[in-house]
């Protein structure tokens, strides 16, 4: 076992020289995850780290965010790792896994796998979580994201997501689908990035998908985001 650990550490040390670490701190007026507020319509602060090994295609990262679940404050810890490969100047694909847990709310911890294809600024991804928010059923989520450079540092972006849960939904008397949309403008002045967007959701109630209850949270929201990278 010790040998394995030493070998992994040596490998990481060897890769260190080629790795690129990026840190970023963000403030959002409402932390919306797939259209659902995880901060109970309140502001949230986030800290994230991305680790890239561009020569090999591997990447990993983590994020911490304050959240408010079931009317209680908590911290979200998220980690992910994956592989991205550039097929040509326009196309690239990726695949990876992501794990999320919440302090004091272990019953919501879940893992999911994803794969995606990017064409220039257009990215499509499909996620599969066998036990979404530990609600006992599998969920598929598909998303399409696009952004477009405007004049100077301005850009516009849009997102559409579609979520489908497995299992019996009869008890909720609702459909098994949930969609979310987001559109906004951004202003990138490295290392700062500002975003203002409008987000909305459609479909069955959040509870049908295992999301923590956020009393009073709206389905539509304006979201302001400010981030600083280093």
């Amino acid at each position: 076992m010790l040998r394995v650990v030493v070998a992994v550490l040596l490998a990481l040390f060897a890769m260190q020289a080629r790795a690129q670490l990026t840190g970023s701190a963000s403030f959002v007026s409402d932390y919306r995850f797939r259209g659902v507020s995880l901060s109970d319509d309140r502001p949230a602060a986030q800290l994230s780290f991305d680790y890239d090994w561009p020569a090999s295609g591997w990447y990993a990262g983590s994020m911490m965010s304050n959240v408010r679940l079931d009317s209680r404050h908590a911290a979200q810890l998220l980690g992910y790792a994956g592989y991205a490969h550039r097929l040509n100047a326009d196309f690239s694909w990726e695949g990876g896994v992501r794990y999320t847990r919440f302090s004091g709310h272990e019953s919501y911890a879940y893992a999911e796998a994803y794969t995606g294809l990017t064409f220039r600024q257009l990215t499509g991804r499909i996620y599969y979580a066998p036990n979404y928010f530990k609600a006992g059923y599998a969920v598929w989520y598909a998303e399409l994201n696009d952004s477009h450079a405007l004049a100077g540092p301005w850009y516009a972006f849009a997102h559409a997501g579609y979520l489908r849960r497995a299992g019996d939904v009869a008890e909720y008397h609702v459909s098994r689908f949930h969609s979310d949309f987001r559109a906004g403008i951004g202003f990138a002045l490295q290392p700062w990035n500002f975003q203002l967007s409008w987000t909305t959701t459609r479909g069955a109630a959040d509870a049908a998908f295992g999301y923590p209850s956020a009393a009073g949270a709206n389905r539509n929201a304006w979201v302001l985001g400010i981030s600083y990278a280093w």
Binding site: Q20, D52, Y80, Y155
Partner: protein
């Protein structure tokens, strides 16, 4: 006063040499390329896959600053090259250090994808315009070509010095002007304006000339700068050219005109390969002073264009009129110009006509259309004249210039 006039005269006489002189001087800056990861999921990326808004750009700058400190360089500038999956950083050498030594050291650094000296380029106009009038439009039967195509909706990127759109022949013909030379405003200059007129000058407006592709949409990308007032001689470098080429790729142009030359450069070669992989027609002027036509004309896949009276014979190059070409100048002025720069501009215009008729035309098909083959159907190893009528007739499969298709099949250039 007399002394001032003499100095001015010497300055203008030496103008054309100044750019070439710059190419013989040792580079004082290096270009350092860092790998950019392929677009991928981030924890908090806000749904934006844009390269320039990615936080990774900040990480690259931090690495570049560390490299600069380690190798005694000064970080000057940077530019993302998403077409190559790279970030390009410009670093100033310390006095007395050799660019080749530093690039060699940098190339062995695991953080660095590649490094190269920032090289000088120059445009290929000549400053002796007083020759008998020989209109290009007449040789290529322009009016008849325009009955078939005018370059409508074809995007042409002119990578050159600045273009003056106040000339009546260019007003409304340029869809975008961008400056890649410095942080200052866009400047109107001679060479860029002259090349632009040949490609897209307005047709039927009662003044001036007719461009080869008057309805093409020109992107005037200023990557070169005029060395002296009144002289078309302009200089560029590998970084300004790379930025302009990257922008042309982002804008999905169909044709790129490069009426300039310089030494072989790896970064530019890679950007040209990226352009060619996207089926962009890249046209470059042949340098009469280089046996292989100079770079980028010598790059495989690039349409190299030489003057009909070029003293050298570059295999695979196309010949086009390059002497006494009437064209636009800044302000409401026109003049006759000479040089392979303008032959290349004509072929870029012709490429725009062909791309209008056949938007997905491949490089091979384009060569076949332009190529007058020998009687045995073999490709000639000599520079070849272009039969514009036959090229359009072959691509459109329609009759033009009293049915040039017949001539095309016989492989005889028309005059």
């Amino acid at each position: 006063m007399m002394r001032a006039w003499l100095l001015a005269a010497v300055f203008f006489a030496l103008g054309p040499c100044a750019a070439a002189l710059a190419e013989t001087q040792q580079p004082t800056q290096v270009l350092v390329m860092l790998r950019a990861a392929a677009p991928h999921l981030h924890a908090a990326d806000g749904y934006v896959a844009s390269y320039t808004t990615s936080p990774a750009e900040t990480a690259h700058k931090r690495i570049a600053r560390a490299l600069a400190r380690q190798y005694g360089l000064q970080l000057v500038d940077s530019w993302p090259m998403p077409a190559l999956g790279l970030d390009c950083f410009v670093m100033q050498l310390a006095p007395g250090t050799s660019a080749s030594d530093v690039t060699q050291l940098l190339s062995h650094d695991t953080r660095v994808e590649s490094a190269e000296p920032r090289l000088a380029f120059h445009t290929l106009a000549k400053d002796d315009p007083l020759y008998p009038l020989q209109p290009t439009a007449r040789q290529w039967h322009l009016a008849e070509l325009h009955a078939l195509a005018t370059g409508r909706n074809v995007k042409v990127a002119e990578v050159d010095s600045g273009v003056d759109t106040t000339n009546p022949d260019l007003t409304g013909q340029v869809i975008e002007q961008r400056n890649f030379v410095d942080d200052g405003g866009y400047r109107a200059e001679l060479h860029g304006t002259e090349v632009a007129g040949i490609i897209v000058a307005r047709e039927g407006n009662g003044v001036g000339i007719v461009g080869i592709a008057p309805q093409a949409r020109l992107l005037a990308l200023r990557a070169c700068w005029q060395l002296a007032d009144g002289s078309a001689t302009s200089a560029c470098d590998s970084f300004t050219l790379a930025k302009a080429l990257q922008y042309a790729l982002e804008k999905h142009v169909q044709v790129i005109n490069l009426s300039l030359t310089g030494p072989n450069d790896r970064l530019l070669q890679r950007l040209l390969d990226a352009a060619l992989a996207r089926h962009i027609t890249v046209v470059s002027a042949v340098d009469d002073n280089a046996a292989d036509g100079g770079f980028p004309a010598s790059h495989p896949g690039v349409l190299a264009v030489a003057s009909e009276h070029s003293p050298i014979q570059v295999a695979g190059a196309w010949l086009a009129p390059a002497e006494d070409i009437p064209t636009t100048q800044p302000g409401p002025r026109w003049n006759l110009v000479n040089g392979s720069s303008f032959a290349a501009a004509e072929v870029s215009g012709l490429a725009a006509l062909l791309r209008e008729l056949s938007p997905d035309i491949t490089l091979t098909q384009l060569h076949d259309a332009l190529h007058a083959r020998t009687a045995l159907g073999l490709a000639s190893m000599r520079p070849m004249s272009i039969d514009a009528c036959a090229a359009l007739a072959q691509v459109s499969r329609r009759c033009t210039c009293d049915c040039a298709l017949a001539h095309a099949s016989l492989g005889r250039p028309r005059r």
